[in-house]
Symmetry: C2
Subunit: 337 residues, 2 copies
């Protein structure tokens, strides 16, 4: 069974979702959990929940990185932060992977420095799973924010990494890979994207060319490659519009007596819908290209999201994603110019 280190002090309501998610993951047998944070606090929370027979070990860390901390400063100054202790466990081979719902920049910086990058990878990339309107299908967008000002070579590496991740985690045989652009025709794109298009065409992947923003959700493509700046804007737009839609829907449905009654009758359908749109089912965003496994969860993660992230981290390790990335990047022998 894989061992996964969980930063217990990351989420907005830490350590509750982390403690409960760890318990659920251990109960389900997803992994052995190393719960990292203030030991007294964590032991107390675990005892309260009667978790003493589960495969959960507390590893002490005296500091926590906040959302306000700058990534590089936090790394230098908070040497005993829960993020850093968790990453050290992975580096030292005591854990196979780590998950954190904390400050994304700080987690990425810490993982890149302490774990190092895989052979053949210039820049690790953060990958986000999006639900699609086709039942059970999902797409993966990368990079969603590990890098701004990406070069075409980096985007070529993102394609290789994202494709392998998708194959392993979703059990797909030949996932379709696309390049996020402002139109599907091959002459579309800005300078970087047009050059990246040529480079992605050289790879032996199921590459379908340029795709548009709408293709994130319609099931036309499985893996979508983008520069980290654009990917991050894309991610936050979709989060924003889902929030807006929920607010408007609630308003619309509570405005009259008959619509309130209608809501009560259709509540179960709504809850199913919400679950389909709930990113937490997919267990966070993996930072692809670092040694070991690093999965970053949303700050608002609940216990279910943490549990799923632990499961995905274990699958990532069992599926030997990193070995495959190194091997396939070596085979592709990408031109560095």
């Amino acid at each position: 069974m894989r061992a996964i280190a969980v930063d217990a002090m990351g989420s907005d309501t830490a350590p509750l979702p982390e403690v409960e998610g760890a318990i659920q993951a251990a109960q389900a047998g997803h992994a052995e959990v190393l719960l990292v944070g203030p030991q007294d606090l964590l032991h107390r929370e675990l005892t309260k929940r009667g978790a003493k027979d589960l495969r959960i070990e507390v590893v002490h860390a005296s500091e926590a990185v906040t959302m306000e901390d700058e990534a590089a400063k936090a790394f230098r100054r908070k040497r005993d932060s829960s993020i850093r202790v968790a990453a050290r466990l992975v580096r030292d081979g005591k854990a196979d992977g780590l998950i954190s719902a904390g400050n994304t920049g700080a987690v990425m910086t810490t993982a890149k420095i302490l774990l190092g990058t895989l052979e053949g990878v210039d820049r690790p990339a953060l990958a986000q799973v999006f639900p699609s309107s086709q039942n059970g299908k999902a797409s993966v967008l990368l990079d969603v924010g590990a890098n701004v000002d990406c070069k075409p070579l980096h985007m070529q590496q993102f394609a290789v990494m994202g494709e392998i991740y998708y194959r392993v985690i979703f059990g797909a045989d030949k996932p379709r890979v696309g390049l996020l652009s402002n139109g599907s025709e091959s002459h579309k794109g800005n300078e970087v994207t047009r050059e990246a298009l040529g480079r992605l065409n050289e790879l032996s992947l199921n590459f379908i060319g340029n795709v548009e923003g709408r293709d994130l959700f319609n099931g036309r493509v499985d893996v979508i490659v983008a520069d980290g700046f654009i990917g991050n804007v894309a991610l936050k737009i979709s989060e924003g519009i889902v929030d807006t839609f929920s607010v408007l829907l609630k308003e619309a449905l509570s405005s009259t007596l008959s619509s309130k009654l209608g809501y009560l009758l259709s509540r179960r359908a709504f809850n199913r819908l919400k679950k389909r749109l709930d990113y937490s089912e997919y267990g966070g965003a993996p930072l692809l290209g670092v040694k070991g496994v690093c999965i970053i969860c949303h700050g608002g993660s609940n216990a279910n999201a943490i549990k799923n992230a632990i499961r995905v981290a274990a699958e990532f390790s069992e599926g030997r994603v990193n070995e495959k990335i190194e091997r396939e990047l070596a085979l592709a022998s990408l031109s560095k110019n």
Copy 2:
């Protein structure tokens, strides 16, 4: 009363939405309409609808640009296209503005060449209105696709143009202007965005700095400036997710008997919601920075969208948006380096 030229052959179901939208706009007294397309067809459709006493004049154009036509080629080869004839009416002072639901690239190319750009504008920008979760509020994003690889100077001009447009069309006094980035802190952004941030700070606008994708919809900012590549990706992502949400909602609500009944009871609320999210209420995307007025509507526009675009085109002209743009750009005396 303003005269607005309507390309009758643009939308996916042309000329019906155009003919009906023209009739509604003329009935409401929004403008005098010059309906451009095959005269026999248009006269027949108008007569069928008993529109003979309205201020609608048919102007003949023998050709139509299709969605498959390449913009530059269509401009050169289809010299009697409805888009080109409509633009000629504006150039020759016979109309104050034009609207088209046709091939966006072809409309932009035609407008830029035939109408020319305003003094002080290097690149016209397409502006899209987004509904916000705050009742009655809306935000404007530009550029959504007129230009890829924008320079910081262009984005500075976009800010000036977008701010004036927002003031005139939404009657706002000091609209808040933001720059679309991957975080709200001032050190965030890619190379171009970081330089643009400095330039936007120099303008005498109510500039609130970097904003994120989610701010498009939450009412925090009124005018959002972006490079045309990013703006276009942003636009298509939000269109995609609204479509997806609608599909999922429909599925969720038709899955059980009680949810079907619930849907019937809450149908009016849903329709109100759909109307709030319906871009057509805002009347299309203006191409800011060209002489005259050019408003581009979605290919799937209905009569209501066309009517609203005609109204907005007239308001644009009455509000002297272009005069204000030229004056304020001259006052700002932007550095060209």
